[in-house]
């Protein structure tokens, strides 16, 4: 590519050039798209009556937003060149904050308007908690200089610890009924969690691709030293990535609370590994620097189709784990051979 002669050659063969550019840019996304469609088709062929039913589609649409948001959170940390093992703990801590406000501070005889106001307040608090948790991660990673995996391993324990101390290990129940109504509700026929997810997908795409910040973040992730010497404020870029990660985790936490109508310090701990898996499957480079929102979205939908489809076949959760692991390894291998082929092409 660096050879100027190649540029000439490419210009002569315009069509080939276009194809190659397309493969370079969107090849992995196309691959993912086909995987998603095939998984969907296989499940639809195995049991069309159940799988294509409205109930199944609704349940899929209700389930994947939580994992999707956690994966987006993971993606921002990974693109910055780190990882965020504290996403689930952050989600739970935020959800617990919101639940405590809703359970303890809403007066028993409050009118609907007052209740809504308190709920809004609790949502704002939860998002703030998520941002602060992310800020703390970011400062430890980029200012103090502890490796991200260790920082978030520690804060994972710390945040879950705070949540345990706040709740004394019990789950918080008795939330206002409006919470679960919204959680299970739809808007124009689209499930509410899905709407939230779409909103934050657009937000993530905007931040990562359409803002100056996104480019700087990807540069920081692929080579922090070079970025530093080219005048990028690596510290602030990294901190912001973790704040965004914390914010997205907090939203996921709120959705978890809305779905279960409760909050607990150790909800959803299996999401952690799944989020890493889906992020890698969606083409996020675990060494940092590269990540595509579209890839993550397709990966999370694929995994949810696979998971719901397997559930339809009445297989155990353990078999699902087995499948998840197998898919992850296959994706890693596919990426490996695919990248080798690409580098041979150019």
């Amino acid at each position: 590519m660096s050879n100027p002669l190649h540029v000439n050659e490419d210009k002569k063969q315009g069509r080939f050039n276009l194809n190659k550019d397309f493969i370079d840019k969107y090849g992995d996304l196309t691959l993912l798209f086909f995987i998603m469609i095939s998984v969907f088709a296989i499940m639809a062929i195995i049991n069309p009556n159940v799988f294509l039913s409205q109930g199944m589609m609704l349940s899929i649409a209700n389930q994947f937003p939580i994992l999707g948001l956690l994966t987006l959170a993971m993606m921002f940390a990974m693109v910055s060149g780190g990882i965020d093992l504290s996403v689930v703990s952050t989600a739970n801590l935020s959800a617990i904050m919101a639940s405590i406000i809703m359970v303890q501070y809403i007066p028993a005889d409050a009118s609907a308007g007052v209740t809504t106001l308190y709920i809004l307040l609790s949502i704002v608090c939860a998002l703030l908690v998520g941002c602060v948790a992310g800020l703390f991660n970011g400062i430890l990673v980029s200012v103090v200089g502890i490796p991200a995996i260790i920082v978030t391993l520690g804060t994972m324990q710390l945040y879950m610890g705070i949540a345990l101390v706040l709740t004394k290990g019990k789950s918080i129940v008795g939330l206002p009924t409006i919470v679960s109504e919204v959680g299970a509700g739809t808007l124009f026929g689209i499930p509410f969690p899905l709407i939230i997810f779409i909103m934050f997908v657009i937000f993530s795409y905007f931040v990562l691709n359409l803002r100056d910040y996104g480019l700087k973040l990807q540069m920081t992730g692929s080579n922090p030293t070079a970025s530093k010497f080219s005048g990028i404020n690596v510290t602030s870029i990294t901190i912001k990535a973790y704040v965004i990660s914390g914010l997205l985790a907090a939203v996921a936490g709120l959705l978890m609370t809305a779905a279960t109508n409760a909050a607990k310090a150790d909800f959803g701990t299996t999401y952690l590994l799944q989020a890493i898996l889906v992020a890698v499957m969606g083409g996020v480079n675990p060494y940092g620097g590269r990540g595509k929102v579209a890839g993550v979205v397709m990966a999370v939908i694929t995994m949810q189709i696979l998971s719901s489809g397997l559930g339809m076949l009445q297989v155990s959760n353990f078999f699902k784990d087995f499948m998840w692991g197998t898919v992850l390894i296959i994706v890693l291998l596919a990426n490996l051979f695919y990248n080798k082929k690409i580098s041979k092409l150019s």
């Binding site: 990882i83 093992l85 430890l140 103090v144 200089g145 502890i146 490796p147 995996i149 260790i150 920082v151 391993l153 520690g154 804060t155 994972m156 324990q157 710390l158 945040y159 879950m160 610890g161 705070i162 345990l164 101390v165 004394k168 290990g169 590994l273 890493i276 898996l277 890698v280 675990p286 060494y287 297989v315 155990s316 353990f318 078999f319 699902k320 784990d321 087995f322 499948m323 998840w324 692991g325 197998t326 992850l328 390894i329 890693l332 291998l333 490996l336």
Partner: protein, 332 residues
Amino acid sequence: MKRILKTNEFYITIVLVLLIFYIGSQNSTFFSINNWFDLIRSGIVPGIFVIGTLLVLISGGIDVSFPAIAAFSMYTTTSIITSLDFDVPVIFAFVIGALIGLFLGFINSIFIAFLKLPTLIVTLGTASIYSGFLLTFIDDGQITRLPEAMTNLSKTRIFEITTDYGTIGIPVVFLITVAIAVLGWFLLKYTMIGRSIYALGGDEVSAERMGISSVKIKVFVYCFVGTLAGIAGVIHTIMTRNSNASDLLGGELLIIAAVVLGGARITGGHGTIYGSLIALLLILIIQNSLILLGIPSYWQRFVIGALILIGTGLSAIQVKRSLEKRNPIMTE
């Protein structure tokens, strides 16, 4: 002397000693033989895990699949021996367990050493494959009737003491952990392989230029960890006198935390057996004995998380300072 003052091991030891005396001064049951035997017993299996994890971290990788490997070898070994109704010496169980662990570790090393895929992601994947395979295809309920040889070993103890509550003692399998710790120490300090692991973790490119085969060393490390996990699994089943396929799973992050707290760096090239074991003891004391101070058990995680951050934070700041002194041009 100055070098000792700079190590994580030194600070961890001080914190440990202070904590021991503080808890002891608040509650005298902490110093009772009972409590210490409990602590030692709870450290037997994690102790082996810690040695394996330390080796992986020094080599510059990370392995989260060892609890899955341990559970896999533990359950498979017991069910092989019980189903065949073998009346075999107990060493047989250890050999099978170790071989299964070796095999699963070797699978990890194929992806990591030969295909050079990222270690965290690979072991996350294999961990869910191993445990998923075990729980779906092999698991057939708890095995409560262990083979006789294993039950007999579980009753064998060293340092038996009779108290008011009955006889207590340290299981003889504790000696295996000690032996593995000594082996690990010897390996890391006095063998070519051990020094190569440090070199590889320090800088892979320079290590290769020195003539160290990174593939061979990585294969060795992951196979070694697998084997240790297999042995640890068998020990776990012997100590609890039953074999439950979902035991042991999910403990990986705390073990990694212990090793990191003990001075190993996640970027590789640093870490000692002594530091890791001391840090493990610290975590075990927090888990088992915080309650003696009247602190409710739900504070455990908070304390452990804070310890990890403070411990690694201090050493990160030290590294930064020493870099600034050595190379003033590189930083700013």
